[in-house]
Symmetry: C2
Subunit: 146 residues, 2 copies
DNA sequence: AAGTAATCCTATTTATTTAGTATGATTTTA
DNA sequence: TAAAATCATACTAAATAAATAGGATTACTT
């Protein structure tokens, strides 16, 4: 029922990147330090984000990561689905017969599908830019992304 | 990210009870058999449901379980919260300071809270009676609850 | 050209949670 | 009194999650 640390760390790291990178590469150890996350573990998370096309990497000294798209183009849903797989509270396939199977289908279409749809809809309605704006507001420090 | 078997089994068992009990006690082994669930495991699930006030039990031979309320009064949300705890994808408390903490609050209020709210809203909008109706429709066998 | 700072890759370990099993006690009906 | 059921709890096994570790590769800098 809970989103794992991978998803939570990853979303937070993406927000960190959006707030602090200003188009330049940011090394993982900077993010890891700011966010108090194990650098080794963050590497695994960024490997997923990179393969999903959400961040770009530059290897070598002075390398690091940048967002692959504008913050306004990236939704929370895209990030979470990349890290956690389909945003779904249940995904049983069910192709049997009988009472058990009929109830499983009934629950799938009346309960799980609507819950899954609403989660995805909310997650897709929030962009990384929305988070950046909110964060800057909270911090009352509109110094980033001038 | 997934609802555990406890929640899934429990919801299915509640639907089974609503469909098949017609106000009489139903023994766990009947449900376990119909739904293909380990009886021992179902016992644990029903222990939770009983303590949550969702079912009533009668001990001894010819005993069993009945719903504690009318199916129209019980929502999917009530059942799932009883079995799974708060329906929330994240619940970190966070009372620190600094960038890390500010981002955690930002994500909590902009992402997790809205997702949690929408899940609960959907789950609370579906009653057990809705599921019974849908199940009977699917089965085209309006023979229960005459 | 060498050294260094970074990503990249993947194996291993540890901890936690989930799922299921087992057993015996208690209660009530027949 | 026997049988059928809930009740309670302890235990085990499997799966998943979280973190750690270490080396390979790449590219910048001096």
């Amino acid at each position: 029922m809970k989103i794992s640390t991978r998803g939570r760390y990853g979303l937070r790291a993406m927000l960190d990147l959006a707030v602090f990178s200003r188009g330049e590469h940011v090394a993982l150890n900077a993010i890891a330090e700011r966010q108090n996350i194990s650098e080794n573990y963050l590497e695994q998370v960024f490997s997923i984000l990179r393969k999903a096309g959400l961040v770009r990497s530059v290897k070598g000294a002075q390398g690091g990561y940048t967002l692959a798209m504008e913050p306004a183009q990236v939704t929370v849903g895209m990030i979470l689905r990349a890290l956690e797989g389909e945003l779904a509270v249940v995904d049983e396939e069910n192709s049997g017969e009988g009472v058990e199977s009929a109830m499983l289908s009934c629950l799938q279409s009346n309960v799980w599908d609507p819950i899954n749809a609403s989660m995805n809809q909310v997650a897709d309605s929030i962009s990384l830019q929305d988070l950046v704006d909110s964060f800057n507001n909270i911090n009352e420090a509109p110094m980033y992304y001038i």
